[in-house]
């Protein structure tokens, strides 16, 4: 590893992307072309669980979703830092373990703060 890493090593991933995208596009186009279409007024009506819809869908969301998302981003960044550590795990040895655990310990403080404040609990 190391010096043999080149952008061409990512060719299999690119191929996988192309195959996945091609499959999705092909199936969607094929089902659109092949499937029968019987459109009636009632079928094309919008409805909410069988109840006639009223108002529109452009309503402001609750801030709670945003709080969950922003906490997700923060822990996401934490996990990203563990990726180079995992690759270098043997070389860094016990020093690396201490370094990363002190990093995680500080974030665990935030995690406990989050639990103590009941930040992700869904009461109104």
């Amino acid at each position: 590893m190391g010096s043999t890493n080149t952008p061409t090593d990512y060719l299999p991933i690119v191929l996988m992307f192309i195959v996945a995208l091609g499959f999705v596009v092909t199936t969607m186009v094929a089902s659109h072309m092949l499937g029968p279409k019987r459109k009636t007024k009632i079928k094309l009506d919008s409805f909410e669980c069988g109840i006639e819809s009223h108002g529109n869908a452009r309503l402001p969301f609750s801030i709670k979703y945003f709080l969950v998302a922003i906490l997700f981003v923060l822990f996401d960044v934490e996990v990203i830092f563990m990726y180079p550590w995992a690759v270098n795990y043997k070389e860094l040895g016990i020093v690396g373990v201490i370094e990363v655990f002190s990093f995680i310990a500080l974030l665990l403080v935030g995690f406990y703060y989050m639990l103590a404040k009941k930040a992700v609990q869904w009461e109104d």
């Binding site: 080149t6 952008p7 709080l67 922003i70 690759v87 002190s102 703060y113 930040a119």
Partner: protein, 172 residues
């Protein structure tokens, strides 16, 4: 192929796609569509990072930016009231001001890029520093202090988000 290497072809295709999706971000009327085009732009830029041998940056770009930050963007759009009648009115004055500001921005960018041709770009340091393994070795030895400080920054962001977003017990 036509005198270009595969890397040059990939660079050209990725650049074209990135610019095209970037323009779609600006031109699409629906803000949700804009965010989705921005995700595509980020994927193209991640491809550029791969071509530059910055593999860690490419992964971070996809996981954090395309994955997480764009979810935040979508939530921000959903948090806003986007009904037709609450849209801000676009008067002629604001359009003219926007055009002048955008034109000045373009002027500054063209002016600053004009001399970029003779900067004599050259490679500094190790060309393979962007690999995850090499980057990790540097990060956990030479840049250990900034790395540990980053956790304090994340902690501060976490506490701040909870303080702002969470209703206190007595608050109405």
């Amino acid at each position: 192929m036509l005198g270009y290497t595969i890397t040059q072809w990939l660079f050209g295709i990725l650049s074209f796609l990135a610019i095209m999706f970037g323009l779609m971000v600006v031109f699409s009327r629906n803000p949700v569509n804009s965010v989705l085009y921005l995700v595509m732009t980020f994927f193209c830029i991640a491809g550029h990072y791969l071509l530059l041998n910055a593999q860690f940056l490419a992964i971070v770009h996809i996981v954090v930016y395309a994955g997480a930050i764009m979810v935040l963007f979508l939530f921000v759009i959903m948090l806003m009231n986007l009904n037709e009648d609450t849209e801000p009115q676009r008067t002629w004055l604001s359009k003219i001001i926007a055009a002048v500001a955008g034109g000045l921005m373009l002027f500054v960018m063209v002016g600053s890029l004009k001399g970029a041709g003779d900067m004599g770009l050259q490679q500094y340091g190790n060309a393979q520093i962007g690999f995850v393994k090499n980057l990790g070795a540097v990060l956990f030895k030479d840049f250990l202090f900034p790395f540990e400080i980053a956790s304090v920054l994340l902690l501060a962001a976490m506490v701040g988000a909870i303080m702002i977003g969470k209703k206190e017990a007595g608050e109405s």
